[in-house]
């Protein structure tokens, strides 16, 4: 049974394959319709700033005729006045039909959902989850590959701290015959608890080599300088895990390159011209996916 009305979107763990597919199907059909959610108020509570995510939600609700209240950054918010998150949620829900929350602490969005009587969407809770990004990634994969099951998917870069790759890997366990290739420097490998969740559900391999042959999807993440004790090691790694014209020669013509953005230099600008480069489409896809979720939660279908 799929029941969407009033539901929360907190973690990709909460969704079955069927539910993920219905979000993708709904997103495909979304187009601007100012009547669909006319009069709806979205409360956008960004306890830490994330301009892109906030833009994406704002655009999504406005294209459906709704409006936005909210704040971004902790100074302007109730945190500064010492109010608890629970109290903020109990107050805000009196003004709004749905809450979108981004907060630096892990579990904050779950707490908000437990407290609120209206739907809550997690737009990032610390290092934990950012499910609308994952839905967007899956939608983009499906859009360019026409399917998800059976794909060979490479994840490249910082697999240790990269929240997006953790969630995506978890979501891929819902699909059959996935082959995952985890490409990272040794100190930035996928955490063991996540590997345990992948075991027996999909096939994965780990490598330090930038081997892109045979992949349908290459999902690139940023390697941050803070993750390295010494700068030399960082420079070496940064030079190794880079997509440029040369390394992209390994790619299948039908492959799709994705990146959650912003990128620094892990994808050379020259790659943008390649037919496989789809990371800007990926950003754009965030809007119909969020429109689909807003519609499902507020209208039930």
């Amino acid at each position: 049974m799929l029941r969407w009305q009033g539901r929360d979107v907190i973690s990709i763990r909460d969704f079955t394959r069927e539910e993920i597919e219905s979000v993708i199907a709904k997103a495909k059909k979304m187009c601007a319709d100012h009547e669909l959610l006319r009069g709806t108020v979205l409360a956008s509570l960004f306890f830490e700033p994330s301009t892109r995510t906030q833009f994406s939600f704002n655009t999504a609700i406005q294209r459906l005729g709704g409006s936005v209240i909210g704040f971004a950054g902790s100074e302007s918010s109730s945190i500064a006045k010492g109010e608890t998150l629970r109290d903020t949620i109990k107050v805000v829900e009196k003004y709004a039909d749905l809450i979108v929350i981004r907060h630096p602490l892990e579990g904050s969005a779950r707490l908000a959902a437990d407290v609120a009587s209206i739907p809550v969407i997690n737009a990032g809770d610390g290092a934990n989850q950012h499910p609308t990004q994952t839905f967007t990634d899956l939608y983009t994969i499906e859009k360019f590959q026409k399917k998800i099951e059976g794909l060979s998917i490479g994840m490249l870069g910082d697999l240790k701290f990269g929240r997006t790759v953790h969630s995506l890997a978890m979501a891929l366990t819902r699909f059959e015959h996935i082959k995952l290739r985890l490409i990272s420097p040794p100190n930035l490998r996928m955490p063991v608890p996540i590997l345990h969740e992948l075991e027996n559900v999909l096939t994965y391999s780990e490598t330090e080599q930038l081997d892109l042959r045979g992949l349908d999807i290459v999902y690139v993440t940023r390697i941050q300088r803070e993750r390295f004790a010494d700068i030399e090691e960082y420079e070496k790694v940064r030079g190794t895990y880079v997509l440029d014209r040369k390394s992209c020669e390994q790619l299948k013509p039908t492959a799709t390159i994705l990146h959650p953005l912003p990128r620094v230099n892990e994808i050379a600008p020259e790659v943008d011209q390649l037919p496989q480069a789809k990371y800007f489409d990926q950003v754009q896809n965030g809007v119909p996916v969020r429109m689909a979720l807003l519609t499902l939660l507020l209208r039930g279908e």
Partner: protein, 153 residues
């Protein structure tokens, strides 16, 4: 039960039996038994048991264990039994059982978890695996496994 343990039969109190061998000190810690504890406490370790091979046993005079503490004991000694003794007779027999969810019993080890913030949310874990216990935080979704749980009680 063997001879020495019979000697220490208690009139009123609690017998915790079938504790996984080696875990009695942990059970005592959970029960708050430390220097200055006013009652008679008997602890036996590595006693031969037909049921589980070797076991530990703890007896406490005039102490009755609330259900909340029984849940904590279940985490470190999943096969333990907790018998309430009144007038040398077993008045109540409880098998410890790890519930599927634990509220305010285990601390989340993640410093960045909302349960460790000024928000003062009681911890909430779901039990993912019972044998060699594995818990997942309801909030931050982090896992706690095996012996590390003992330090979080």
């Amino acid at each position: 039960m063997n001879e020495e343990l019979k000697v220490t039969k208690i009139r009123n109190g609690t017998v915790i039996d079938h504790i996984r061998a080696g875990m009695a000190p942990m059970v005592l810690r959970i029960l708050g038994v430390e220097r200055g504890f006013p009652e008679v406490v008997v602890m036996a370790m590595n006693v031969r048991s037909q049921k589980i091979g070797f076991k530990d046993v703890v007896k406490l005079e005039n102490q009755f264990i609330p259900d909340e503490l029984v849940k904590k004991i279940a985490i470190v000694a999943p096969q333990a039994t907790v018998d309430t003794i009144k007038d040398f007779k077993v008045a109540q027999k409880r098998a410890v059982e790890l519930p599927s969810e634990l509220f305010d019993i285990v601390r989340c080890p993640n410093r960045n978890c909302i349960t460790n913030s000024a928000e003062r949310v009681p911890s909430h874990f779901t039990v993912e695996r019972r044998e060699s216990v594995c818990l997942r935080c309801h909030y931050c979704e982090g896992l706690v496994e095996g012996e590390s749980v003992e330090n979080l009680l």
